[in-house]
């Protein structure tokens, strides 16, 4: 099939203003949108810039806005988008070049939430693992899937309004630690979530959940955080 690929372009070294370029390509329905971008870069315009690495949806490099919806270009198949495909950078972060955005505000928000395991109590006397039941492990399984691609955060209107808002990805990470029975810093994280740039800015729009390429139930996770803040219950 022939696909018309419309791509957002901006090269700060030469362009004063962004524009769209259109490319016509022969494609298989099972081609990834990433494959099309690679072909444009390889044969038509080498300067086209985008991030990518694993090409199968686990590294989180190639989050893009494809036909208006955030997705990973390596998990977006042509057959799911049809003959006209528009590719733009994810929104709410400054465009550096073409499809590459400045990820710094995203990672800064991630770092705010203490995104690491904290347990300063002594290890078990035998030096072995901290025990955790299958049920306790299951409690936070969904939020361990996050690959920090930013599909969720950059689909959130609250984040578009202000990039100091923690955003769903940071809250997914907070959930992963707060509901881990072995972690000891739930109250500190809940306090961070309660600050003005925190969880109160989530208006349950569900864009994040719709956008997540790992199918994490993000709105549900944020709901559980809200409940924990109100009740203090971490079950």
């Amino acid at each position: 099939m022939e696909v018309t690929l419309k791509v957002f372009r901006f090269n700060p070294d030469v362009d004063k203003k962004w524009r769209y370029e259109t490319y016509k390509l022969e494609a298989d329905p099972t081609d990834r949108v990433l494959d099309l971008l690679e072909r444009v870069k390889g044969y038509t315009d080498g300067s086209l810039a985008f991030r990518r690495s694993c090409a199968h949806g686990v590294c989180g490099s190639d989050a893009l806005r494809i036909n208006g919806k955030n997705s990973l270009a390596c998990k977006a198949l042509v057959r799911d988008y049809g003959e006209k495909i528009t590719v733009e950078p994810i929104m709410g972060l400054k465009v550096i070049k073409d499809l590459i955005v400045d990820m710094k505000p995203f990672f800064d928000n991630y770092k705010k939430i203490l995104p690491f395991f904290i347990n300063d109590s002594p290890l078990p006397a035998d030096g072995k693992e901290r025990r955790q039941s299958i049920e306790q492990r299951e409690r936070f399984d969904d939020t361990t899937k996050c690959i920090l691609c930013a599909c969720c955060t950059t689909s959130c209107p609250s984040f578009w309004a202000s990039d100091d808002y923690l955003g769903p990805a940071a809250m997914v990470t907070a959930h992963r630690f707060i509901f881990d029975s072995r972690d000891e810093s739930a109250s500190e994280r809940l306090h961070i979530l309660s600050e003005t740039s925190g969880i109160a800015r989530c208006h349950t729009v569900f864009n994040c959940t719709m956008a997540c390429p790992r199918e994490i139930q993000i709105t549900k996770a944020i709901g559980e955080l809200k409940l924990a803040m109100v009740t203090g219950n971490l079950e």
């Binding site: 199968h56 690491f116 693992e129 025990r131 039941s133």
Partner: protein, 597 residues
């Protein structure tokens, strides 16, 4: 404008090995971790099935069994003292990851859960043993996330999206690296006492590959250009189960959970090739078996793929036939729901890329380029050793897939890659920091960026008659066809001729993007140059080794030949010509014998 930095230890690469090295080096030395990707994009994150240790959480297991299985898996080319060291370190390494918060799956008693994997056996009964500790089918993802998080907690200095281009040396010592900052195009000189390369493998030189775009052998190519040898480069692992045509990895954990390989006639064929452990034989054995089935016309629909079947009724049927049971002795009766829970990403890959549900349909698979066994020669402390005498190159270290300790010998055992990077990442970091405390800074060479700039200038100033994308495709095709699962002299000679042609054509490539901001065209062309450099090395070493061993299977020399070839290959380039020498394999307890699964 070149920017200058000074650190005691510089780590290149931020996958599992680089993060572990950075974490440990930074405890006592001023350390920087430089990576061309954001650390969480590293390819460690794509590892699925597990990380092995003889924890014995579900049944009896012993460090000695893990050691022997790894030696046997390596087809006796792994150095046994280093393998012993790794397997001894393994239980503590995994507990340390747990203490860092890694969310392993759990047993009913709350311990770390373990599953069977290819080549992991009870050495008394010969039956598969549960040794692979796992977090669903995203164990590598959890290791990468956990180590990155711990680095953040410990304020490790990161230089994200900086591509290292050159190793700086003076007076026979490493003294830093040159890198380009991708966002600005500026060159940076990192002056260091110790440099650790942890840049991963070079699996992108094959057409069907499970490897990330980033896997272009940068570290190996950089050090090779600076005269550091490479070891055992003929050995590369083809994983038996990649998604047909795409190469995306389907973890061995699928077979660990009872999945079965089925040919086009609907037959389970592995018992013919590995009568005891069958579908859980070592990867090289299974990849060859799949090729044999296809070659003899038993591919699916006469095509070049077969099926991996993990439908619950199939799993239960063959578990009963094989006499496999649960740890408590009860018969195995899995449900789709349980399998889905243990293998969520595998189900997702199949749904997204093939539109099939592995719980109701078998998966079409073919062997896929997967893992670099060879690499920069090191000892068990990550110190780079440049000859057969164990001579250390001062200040230079390597760990993870880019290194060749040699743990994996001719064929890596599944799950030993994650173990390798945790154990040797740690020791290289500790050793480099220790060295940095005792050593002074070696002065930088004059004009430190000259060689890096020269490489970039060549790519900018070609006449543009050739297209880099085409050269890359032709490279991948010839390597997959002629230096793949099976090899023969004529094919490898053909590959070397073709590779020489491609290297010549590469000189005519011109990067059209003249900008400085995220010039990924320039970066990708430079990466292709690394692959071309290493492909010639791989093919040369493969042609040279006249035997079959592990991942190196020759049709014209189909037997292992211990009398002549029980030795490591070392290769260097001297005056433009590739030169091969050898070093002995360290054998402690396990004398080579025939390898039967």
């Amino acid at each position: 404008m070149t920017q200058n930095h000074q650190f005691e230890v510089v780590v290149v690469g931020a996958g599992g090995a680089g993060l572990m090295a950075g974490l440990y080096a930074s405890k006592t030395a001023k350390t920087a971790v430089i990576s061309k990707l954001y650390p969480t994009r590293s390819h460690t994150g794509a590892a699925q099935g597990g990380i092995s240790a003889a924890l014995g959480n579900l049944e009896e297991d012993r460090v000695e069994w893990h050691t022997y299985d790894s030696v046997k898996g390596s087809d006796y080319l792994g150095d046994q003292d280093s393998i012993e060291f790794m397997c001894q370190e393994a239980p503590q390494a995994i507990l340390e990851l747990e203490h860092m918060g890694l969310p392993f799956d759990r047993t009913p008693e709350g311990k770390i859960s373990q599953r069977p994997f290819g080549g992991h056996t009870n050495n008394v009964t010969g039956k598969p043993v549960r040794r692979a500790a796992h977090a669903a089918d995203r164990t590598g993802h959890m290791i990468l996330q956990t180590l990155y998080q711990q680095c953040l907690k410990n304020n490790v200095n990161f230089y994200d999206e900086f591509q290292v281009l050159d190793l700086l040396t003076k007076d026979g010592k490493a003294c830093g690296v040159v890198a380009v900052e991708l966002a600005t195009g500026e060159l940076h000189v990192f002056h260091a006492k110790a440099v650790i390369f942890a840049t991963g493998g070079h699996g992108r030189m094959w057409e069907i590959t499970s490897n990330a775009y980033a896997y272009t052998g940068d570290g190996a190519a950089i050090t090779f250009r600076r005269g550091i040898p490479l070891e055992d480069m003929e050995f590369f692992q083809f994983h038996p189960t990649g998604i047909y045509k795409l190469g995306i990895l389907i973890t061995e954990g699928v077979r660990g959970e009872g999945g079965i390989l089925i040919n086009g006639k609907g037959e389970r064929f592995m018992p013919k090739y590995a009568p005891t452990v069958k579908d859980l034989a070592s990867r090289d054995v299974i990849s060859r078996a799949i090729y044999m089935e296809i070659r003899e016309g038993r591919g699916v629909n006469g095509s070049n793929y077969i099926y991996l079947d993990v439908r619950p009724e199939v799993v239960n049927k063959f578990a009963a036939l094989d006499g496999r049971t649960n740890p408590d002795g009860s018969p195995i009766k899995v449900t789709a729901e349980e399998l889905l829970h243990k293998l969520p990403d595998i189900v997702d890959f199949n749904r997204v890329y093939l539109g099939i549900d592995p719980m109701t349909q078998p998966m079409p698979i073919q062997p896929t380029a997967h893992y670099t066994m060879g690499g920069i020669p090191t000892n068990r402390y990550g110190q780079v050793v440049v000859d057969d005498q164990g001579t250390i190159y001062p200040g230079l270290y390597a760990a993870g897939e880019v290194a060749c300790v040699s743990i994996h010998g001719a064929n890596r055992l599944g799950t030993n890659s994650l173990l390798d990077l945790v154990v040797f990442g740690k020791y290289s970091g500790l050793k480099a920091a220790e060295y940095a405390k005792s050593a002074d800074f070696t002065p930088l060479p004059n004009d430190p960026t000259a060689f890096a700039s020269q490489q970039f200038d060549a790519l900018r100033n070609g006449d543009g008659k050739e297209n880099a994308f085409d050269i890359g495709r032709e490279l991948k095709k010839v390597m997959f066809d002629d230096v793949g699962v099976f090899r023969i002299e004529e094919g490898m000679k053909n590959a070397l001729t073709k590779l020489a042609e491609l290297r010549e054509r590469f000189k005519h490539v011109r990067v059209n993007d003249s900008g400085k901001t995220f010039n990924t065209e320039l970066l990708n062309a430079w990466e292709l140059g690394n692959l071309l450099e290493l492909a010639e090395v791989v093919a040369t070493c493969a042609l040279n080794r006249k035997e079959s061993r592990g991942g190196h299977a020759r049709e014209d020399y189909s037997k292992r030949d211990d009398a002549n070839w029980l030795k490591h290959t070392l290769i260097t380039r001297k005056n433009g010509k590739l030169e091969i020498s050898y070093k002995p394999v360290v054998i402690t307890k396990y004398q080579p014998k025939e390898r039967v699964y």
